[in-house]
């Protein structure tokens, strides 16, 4: 009884996790600018990982694998949002602008090399000249 409930629960969690991750990846691919892609990717990334690892934990049974999965969960809990935060901060820091030009006004609190350069000193194109 307990086993079948666990199996169903685990299948539901794995399925939901897969759904969230795929939807996040579609967002990563289709959204128009960096910050909204970032939003789609990092939110679903964290939730999808929790669901998948949680689903695996339910099938693992007692033992070392369960403990390791729990560790993975804890690490993802710490690293995934932090990486997202650092990434967004770095994008803002490098003056990556939204199409509307919102982000470049916020760089007054970044002390990097004074405030001499205008918003064009480092635009999206020069950040990635292929």
């Amino acid at each position: 009884m307990i086993d079948s409930v666990l199996a169903i629960l685990s299948a539901v969690m794995l399925g939901l996790g897969g759904f969230f991750m795929v939807s996040g990846a579609i967002g990563l691919l289709r959204f128009p600018d960096f910050y909204s892609r970032m939003h789609a990717a990092s939110m679903t990334d964290t939730l999808g990982s929790y669901l998948v690892v949680g689903g695996l934990m339910l099938t693992a049974g007692w033992g070392l694998p369960l403990f390791k999965l729990a560790l993975i969960l804890v690490f993802i809990f710490f690293t995934s949002p932090t990486a997202g935060h650092a990434l967004a901060k770095s994008a803002q820091h490098c003056d990556l602008r939204l199409p509307g030009g919102g982000a470049s006004t916020k760089k007054a609190d970044n002390e990097i090399s004074g405030s001499a350069q205008g918003p064009d000193s480092r635009d999206v194109v020069s950040a990635d000249r292929v």
């Binding site: 685990s10 299948a11 794995l14 399925g15 996790g17 897969g18 759904f19 991750m21 795929v22 996040g24 990846a25 579609i26 990563l28 691919l29 960096f34 892609r37 970032m38 990717a41 990092s42 990334d45 999808g48 990982s49 998948v52 690892v53 689903g55 695996l56 099938t59 693992a60 070392l64 694998p65 390791k68 999965l69 560790l71 993975i72 690490f75 993802i76 690293t79 995934s80 932090t82 990486a83 997202g84 650092a86 990434l87 770095s90 994008a91 820091h93 490098c94 990556l96 990097i112 090399s113 001499a116 350069q117 000193s121 480092r122 999206v124 020069s126 950040a127 990635d128 292929v130």
Partner: protein
């Protein structure tokens, strides 16, 4: 369901790879690598369960750590680079 999850993970990896190839900015690529890394952690855990030897989760664990370190490293060097190009332009 585990197999369906593995296939979903592969699909996500393909989409993230496409984003990493398309760019357009370097931050998009870094974001794609980050997503890709997390998905690799999950894919490896899932492979462990599919192949019936879940004691190999150490590898997924090491990925979860290394991925974070490399993202931080990439961002750090990009800040160096950004500061440099800015100084060059003045």
């Amino acid at each position: 369901m585990i197999i369906a999850t593995a296939i979903a993970l592969l699909v996500v990896m393909v989409l993230a790879l496409v984003r990493a190839l398309l760019g357009p900015t370097i931050h998009d690529r870094i974001l794609a690598v980050n997503v890709f890394g997390t998905k690799t952690v999950l894919l490896i855990s899932v492979i462990c369960f599919i192949s019936g030897r879940p004691e190999f989760l150490d590898i997924a664990l090491v990925y979860a750590l290394i991925n974070f370190v490399s993202i931080i490293g990439v961002l750090k060097y990009f800040e160096y680079q950004g500061r440099d190009e800015r100084e060059g332009m003045q």
